[in-house]
Symmetry: C2
DNA sequence: CAATCAAGTAAGTACCCGCTTGCAGTCGGG
DNA sequence: CCCGACTGCAAGCGGGTACTTACTTGATTG
């Protein structure tokens, strides 16, 4: 059972690095340390191998929960943003490659269950809870706010390592400032300590 | 002189649709309506053709200016956001494909002069002007704010057409709400009408 | 009119691709 | 002990790739 997982991991890695066309069966086999023929005996074709690799390795949803009963929006958002950003950043190569090929191979990725989408939904639901709890201003549009903050985290995680000039600050500093701005945009009432 | 531009345009289109490996010289020639040999006579190799195509077609900087002497931040930001988003959205295929291959071919794209980076720099400079003019709160970090708003526009433009469930509102509506949130995050003093 | 030059055409080279086949080794279980 | 399942190995198939060569065509220009 270990060999099969090694192949899937290798397939996902090679795909993330080089895309569908660049992920040749020879390279995947070499990366996994197995013979090329073994790939076809296990998965039938390159397409099915990569499909299975994508659904298993990394493109499934992640730990993106936010408190059901909000107490301290700033702290909760900061903690969630840190987790979400770290998750996206770890998967940045796969996300970038998949995004680049989504038009050519739309059936290949289940975008609706991808990490950014799931995280965005969790954030949207949390913001609605904040609004009904009266913890943020009634003027804010929760859907747009979720798209905005999610877009911020997404763009940061996916471009930070290739746009050194843009992201001079370390991630923690940037995230803290994003949260500061976002909290002000939402009109959060700070809890009295 | 028309033929050369037709080839470059075709090369950029095929690249945007299918990436470097998918942009075969046969497909580019067919798309341009010329013979395959003509490509090599004009550009020497596929790599040089695509390099030239990228530096010319679309990946150069765009019209991203913001007023030098700010008067009405909300209106100016809204107008700029509309232009910037439209530009990014028009180039979304190219941007996605280029981003997906940036690790594999880092020298291929001049990311530092790409449209999102230029727009972000323009926004950052404008926010600094707003702060020195006292039109926004002194608490806001201009660099982080620029990254945040730019990330919002970028993520929206690049994922809107492939994540239908996330972006239910039309672009104009979303953009207006992004600006509303951003203006509140900056603590903009609204000009009295 | 003759010379030139850009473009098309046809064929071919050497290589890489996904995928298949046949065979040899190797292991655990009846 | 032998059987069957699994893996590695070597070779090969048809097709696509970037790129080259040699020759033809047609318009421009001196």
């Amino acid at each position: 059972m270990e060999l099969r997982e090694r192949i899937l991991k290798a397939a996902a890695d090679v795909y993330a690095a080089s895309g569908f066309r660049g992920a040749t069966t020879r390279r995947i086999a070499e990366q996994a340390g197995v013979n090329e023929v073994t790939l076809f005996r296990h998965f039938g074709s390159k397409t099915r191998l990569l499909q299975e690799a994508m659904s298993c390795a990394g493109f499934a949803s992640a730990h993106c929960e936010l408190p059901l009963t909000p107490v301290d929006p700033r702290a909760e958002l900061a903690e969630w943003a840190g987790r979400t950003h770290a998750d996206l950043f770890a998967k940045r190569s796969l996300i970038r490659t998949a995004m680049g090929e989504i038009e050519e191979r739309p059936d290949f990725l289940l975008t609706e269950h991808s990490p950014p989408v799931c995280a965005g939904q969790a954030l949207h639901a949390y913001l609605e809870r904040l609004k009904t709890a009266g913890l943020i201003t009634a003027e804010a549009d929760c859907r747009a706010a979720a798209a905005m903050f999610m877009g911020t985290l997404f763009a940061d995680a996916v471009t930070r390592d290739v746009l050194a000039s843009v992201f001079a600050d370390p991630p923690e500093t940037s995230l803290k400032r994003y949260v500061d701005l976002f909290v002000r945009a939402l009109g959060v009432e700070e809890p009295t300590p």
